[in-house]
């Protein structure tokens, strides 16, 4: 007998829902505005104008100006470039490291797997922001530091995921067959194990992008990430917080930019996960 759904029929896997589509659309919007910032921005990046310090939003400055008289909208558009650069760099670096180690661990099994997995356990014991903080203090603040620091805490998730997928792929008949035919191990991994491990990792990457945005912004807010003259949303919030009570726009708009971008990535990631992998809920 068919199982009755609780109130309405359960959505079938394989269909991306409307919220996810909204997330995707928002990301395209954010990405476009970051790429096209030089053409879209009403002013030049980083041009202080002491005559217009802390101007409220107006026709000339839609989102107002900051203490130095810079146009907040312009700074946000350029800040998007910084944020997206960090996201792409962190996710690329950490997924490459993580997948490489994970696939090796999963395919090799035995002591190799144990050693790699125990190392990931150790890294996972540090909450991402905390290890990033420690590294950022040691390395000195910069965008590169933020990337290195966040990537250092993010790869173990991918290593773990890739290892479990690779381990299950490694036992499939066609991999056995390839091995019996004398195909060298690295080639087996490259041809069969790696491609099969990629889908779950890509889903995870899309789920993580929002977290990376938030961590990067938090690092900059603490003065450990991007520094002047680079435009960055977390940094803008930090610089504006002193005048928040009297000049709400200097903090509100950059914060909203972070919120919207993280929200968009989370919606898309959640939708992709539901569509491709309906069983897993949260890592």
């Amino acid at each position: 007998m068919t199982v009755l759904p609780l109130s309405r029929p359960v959505r079938r896997p394989g269909r991306v829902d409307r919220l996810a589509m909204l997330g995707g659309a928002l990301i395209v919007l954010v990405a476009l505005s970051a790429v096209l910032a030089p053409w879209l921005a009403p002013y030049e990046e980083n041009t202080p104008d002491p005559l217009h310090s802390l101007d409220p939003p107006s026709g000339a400055h839609w989102f107002g100006t900051d203490l130095a008289g810079r146009d907040v909208l312009t700074q946000i558009l350029y800040g998007g470039r910084t944020s997206l650069t960090i996201v792409v760099a962190v996710l690329t670096v950490s997924s490459v490291i993580g997948v490489t180690l994970g696939v090796v661990a999963g395919y090799a099994g035995g002591p190799v797997r144990d050693v790699i997995m125990r190392i990931t356990d150790v890294f996972l014991a540090f909450p991402a922001l905390l290890l990033s903080l420690a590294l950022a203090v040691v390395l000195g603040p910069s965008v590169t530091t933020a990337i290195v620091a966040i990537a250092a805490t993010w790869w173990p998730w991918y290593a773990r995921l890739a290892a479990s997928v690779a381990a299950s792929v490694a036992t499939r008949p066609y991999v056995d067959a390839a091995r019996c035919l004398g195909v060298p191990a690295p080639l087996v991994v490259l041809r069969h194990v790696l491609p099969n491990s990629l889908t779950p990792v890509l889903v995870q990457v899309s789920l993580d992008a929002g977290g990376v945005i938030l961590t990067a912004a938090a690092l900059s807010y603490l003065g450990l990430g991007a520094r002047e003259p680079v435009a960055e949303w977390g940094l803008m919030v930090q610089q504006g917080q002193t005048y928040f009570t009297t000049n709400w726009w200097v903090v509100t708009f950059p914060g909203l930019a972070i919120l919207v971008t993280a929200f968009a990535f989370n919606l898309l990631g959640e939708g992709l996960r539901a569509a491709l992998d309906p069983r897993r809920v949260i890592k």
């Binding site: 007998m1 009755l4 759904p5």
Partner: protein, 245 residues
């Protein structure tokens, strides 16, 4: 106790069950027979008003309540208290994290029935179970015990109608006999109306007064159990009978 006229259950454009006529009086036992997917379980759930997502039409009266038009509250009052359900897979039908006694007490309290230790123990003893079973979780009891517990639950709540969905198919042969014995005894002692859904003709022949044979959502044959089983008129019924060992 049960009165059905021209019941139709549709999912979208597909009719999964169509029952022109079905009556079960007090102390009677009617069996609905057919293979899985023939619409017999759906019919059962329709009697409880529990076919969500489906379009149900016709006339269904259970314990004096018009199931298809009654408000949800009225339906919840008769569910459990007057009409009880015994499901196919007893372990899966019981919440795995709830002790049997807790489930029983909650159901009794819900319907305002005496939920004291004594009353619960008596209900369980009536189906020949040790009251200690009330302290167990579903995974700690056998299939036969779980099934008898489900019947005890119906008794404790004072149900007049029992809807049994393949009550024995998940059980061993000896345990089947126990469960059937309990059902038959209670029917005789308490005048329960019993609607049995089963593909097991051997079971049906020992307990049912009347039989409905369903195939692909339609009733193909109905009548007194003795006649239908002895001289089936529809080829499908003959097929079912021939499949018997």
């Amino acid at each position: 106790m049960i009165e059905v006229r021209d019941l139709r259950v549709r999912y979208g454009t597909r009719t999964v069950a169509h029952v022109p006529e079905l009556d079960v009086g007090a102390g009677e036992c009617v069996a609905v027979v057919g293979e899985s997917g023939s619409g017999k379980s759906t019919t059962l759930m329709a009697l409880l008003g529990l076919t969500e997502g489906a379009e149900v039409s016709g006339y269904v009266r259970v314990c004096g309540v018009d199931v298809l038009t009654a408000p949800a509250r009225r339906l919840r009052e008769i569910r459990g208290a007057r009409v009880a359900l015994v499901m196919q897979s007893p372990e899966a039908a019981l919440s795995p994290t709830t002790r049997l006694g807790v489930l029983m007490r909650r159901a009794l309290v819900l319907h305002g029935v005496d939920a004291g230790e004594r009353a619960m123990a008596e209900a369980v003893e009536a189906v020949l179970l040790d009251p200690a079973i009330l302290r167990r979780y579903p995974h700690e009891v056998s299939g036969g015990q779980a099934q008898r517990f489900a019947i005890a639950l119906a008794l404790a709540l004072g149900a007049e109608v029992v809807l049994a969905d393949e009550p024995t198919s998940a059980l061993d042969v000896t345990v089947q006999a126990e469960v059937v014995g309990v059902l038959r005894r209670l029917r005789a002692e308490r005048g329960l109306a019993l609607l049995l859904v089963s593909h097991d003709l051997a079971l049906v022949s020992t307990i049912a007064d009347r039989v409905l044979v369903m195939k692909d959502g339609e009733v193909v044959e109905s009548g007194p159990a003795a006649r239908v089983l002895a001289e089936p008129s529809h080829p499908y019924t003959r097929e079912l009978l021939e499949a018997l060992p």
